[in-house]
């Protein structure tokens, strides 16, 4: 029961770990280039959770100065993750643009169909 309680108490960390590992697994195991990018996005999203849950102060409110409130959550992780989200969007956009071009040139986005076409060392 201790194990289960530990998992429930820190459920946010377990979600982070699950997303991180499953995202990475998809990137490695899938040959479809779009699916790889989906996995990559999951992997990046797990990092957002890692930062955001660390910024939460239990019992703290939103970091806005007001009378009678002394405990605030840490706003810095949110700011950092806003930046990281922008980076993630840019990466995904560039990745998808590359996949569109690859599809135009090769007519497929499956790695196992593309690699046999390119085994010469040109």
């Amino acid at each position: 029961m201790d194990l289960l309680e530990g998992i429930i108490q820190r459920y946010n960390d377990w979600i982070t770990i699950f997303l991180m590992v499953s995202g990475l697994y998809i990137v490695v195991a899938r040959g479809n280039m779009i699916k790889k990018l989906v996995g990559l996005s999951l992997f990046q999203t797990s990092v957002f959770l890692l930062y955001i849950s660390a910024g939460k102060v239990i019992g703290g409110t939103a970091p806005i100065l007001a009378d009678g409130i002394t405990a605030y959550s840490n706003p810095l992780p949110h700011v950092l993750i806003l930046t990281a989200i922008v980076v993630g969007v840019a990466t995904l956009a560039l990745g998808l643009a590359l996949v569109v071009r690859i599809n135009e040139v090769y007519g497929t986005i499956e790695e196992e169909e593309i690699f046999p076409l390119e085994d010469d060392d040109a």
Binding site: L94, G95, A122
Partner: protein, 495 residues
């Protein structure tokens, strides 16, 4: 006073210039904007280096917000050296870029290429200049995203594949880095490198700190192309436009190595890195494997650009070897090789770009007798190749001299032997290109390709080759800077 704003300006100038290149959209206007802004960088870098050497570390509070709350740009001898290399190489390549880019890309792509070039340089200098862990991540992604785009602008359809593969691997690397930074932030409550170094010993949570180190090492290892995380590099270098290859090979991995050194020595300090974890043994094994595996694979390559890319994997091995030796001398060797490798690989890839410009191919089997037709460029290639081998009188000798001295200091004779042995393999792969270029009779078609490239391309090649020789004969500038940098890195930032 504008002089005090240099740490911010050196990042901001190329960043702002990239906005203007997208606005004008005309290839030659974009080239002029890029050249003018990039030429200002080595001047600024030099002024900062002089300032650091005379008055010590520069601390610049970005936007007037005092560190450790605000973002700090912190310049000491180590990153002054790296910034100097990046800005100098970026500037030297620019005259070459115009002819090469015109030949290799459609005219509506020129302005975008220069935009990406500026963003990449800005990102690389930013990584080196910043003293803030998350800021370094943002610059890492700026330089990486622009790099993927530059690679995708290559001529063959495989450029797209290479760019896609590098995007996947590079993003995983950057995300690993940011996970490590996140763990460190959770434990220490700060993102400022210097503040982090001070708080680390009292922070507790030893496991989290060591996990953060593992994440950062693997993440940066992917960016460095440290064996066995190097798989993206050969395709990326071989398929990128010639200008992009020269820039990346000379600068991109170096900046990641600098960041790794910063994390290892300045923040964690030698006591954690080398006593609590088997980092030393691990780095040593991987570096030696890289030195041999990279060189051996290079020997069997037929594409000269891929050959040189595999040689880069091996050369990165020498740089991380210096880190693994955990001494001031080893670290000096590593930093000197970082600078010297920029000269030799920059020169070698520029020559191969010139070959692609005239011949349209960089396969060794197509290059028979090209030395007779393009004597000056291929002569420069020979000098750069000798430097890769480590022949006395070239910069490669200086790097290996320092590394071998460091092994003697440790009493590791076997390692000195391995360094020399791996250099002998370099004789083989450099020899293959040189043999094809100089000892074969040029075919009739070969005689008609038009000789050495135009002056604008030849001068950058000659400048970098000259660097290989000049700093190989009188190494006082590079080795002096590298030794100062190694001492300040090795001492760590902890008070």
């Amino acid at each position: 006073m504008i002089f005090e704003q240099l740490p911010a300006l050196i990042v901001a100038v190329p960043l702002l210039a990239s906005v203007f290149t997208t606005m004008f959209q005309r290839g030659h206007v974009a080239w002029w904007i890029t050249t003018l802004s990039i030429f200002s960088l080595p001047v600024m870098a030099w002024l900062m280096t002089v300032e650091v050497l005379t008055n010590g570390t520069i601390s610049y509070a970005m936007g007037g917000w005092e560190p450790p709350i605000g973002i700090e740009y912190r310049i000491d001898a180590a990153n002054a050296l790296v910034i100097l290399i990046v800005s100098a190489v970026a500037a030297v390549i620019m005259p070459y870029a115009r002819a090469s880019v015109t030949a290799e890309m459609a005219s509506d792509q020129h302005a975008w290429f220069y935009t990406m070039y500026l963003l990449c340089v800005s990102g690389l200098i930013g990584i080196a200049a910043t003293g803030d862990a998350f800021n370094a991540f943002v610059f890492l992604e700026i330089s990486s995203l622009s790099t993927y785009t530059m690679i995708a602008l290559g001529q063959s359809r495989r450029s797209l594949l290479a760019a896609y593969q590098y995007l996947i691997v590079g993003t995983i690397g950057a995300t690993f880095y940011v996970i490590g930074v996140g763990l460190l932030y959770i434990v220490t409550g700060t993102l400022n490198f210097n503040d982090m170094a001070q708080r680390l010993p009292e922070a507790g949570y030893e496991n989290a700190i060591l996990a953060a180190l593992a994440f950062i090492t693997v993440g940066l290892g992917l960016k460095i192309a440290l064996f066995p995380l190097h798989v993206w590099l050969p395709n990326a270098y071989a398929k990128a436009p010639s200008v992009a290859t020269a820039l990346l090979a000379a600068t991109a991995t170096k900046v990641a190595i600098y960041l790794l050194m910063r994390v290892f020595f300045s923040i964690y300090g030698t006591s954690i890195i080398f006593e609590q974890l088997p980092v030393l043994e691990l780095m040593l094994i991987l570096s030696i494997t890289a030195m041999f595996a990279g060189s051996i694979v290079a020997v069997f390559e037929n594409n000269a650009k891929r050959l040189m890319a595999y040689s880069s994997v091996a050369q990165v091995g020498y740089m991380t070897l210096g880190i693994a030796m955990a001494s001031v001398l080893g670290l000096s060797g590593s930093l000197i090789h970082l600078a010297n490798h920029a000269f030799m690989k920059g020169a070698a890839f520029l020559v191969l770009g010139a070959v692609a410009y005239r011949l349209g191919s960089v396969k060794i089997s197509d290059m028979g007798g090209i030395g007779r037709v393009m004597p000056i460029s291929m002569g420069c290639f020979v000098i750069a190749g000798l430097s890769l081998i480590g022949v006395p009188g070239t910069v490669g000798f200086i790097s290996k001299y320092y590394l071998v001295l460091a092994t003697f200091e440790k009493g590791w004779w076997w390692l000195a032997f391995l360094i020399v042995l791996s250099s002998l393999i370099a004789v083989l792969y450099v020899g293959r290109v040189v043999e094809a270029a100089w000892f074969k009779t040029p075919s009739v078609e070969m005689r008609q390709i038009g000789g050495d490239p135009p002056m604008v391309m030849l001068v950058p090649i000659l400048l970098l080759t000259l660097g290989c020789v000049v700093f190989g004969i009188d190494a006082s500038l590079t080795s002096g800077l590298a030794e100062t940098a190694a001492q300040s890195l090795f001492a760590g930032w902890r008070q």
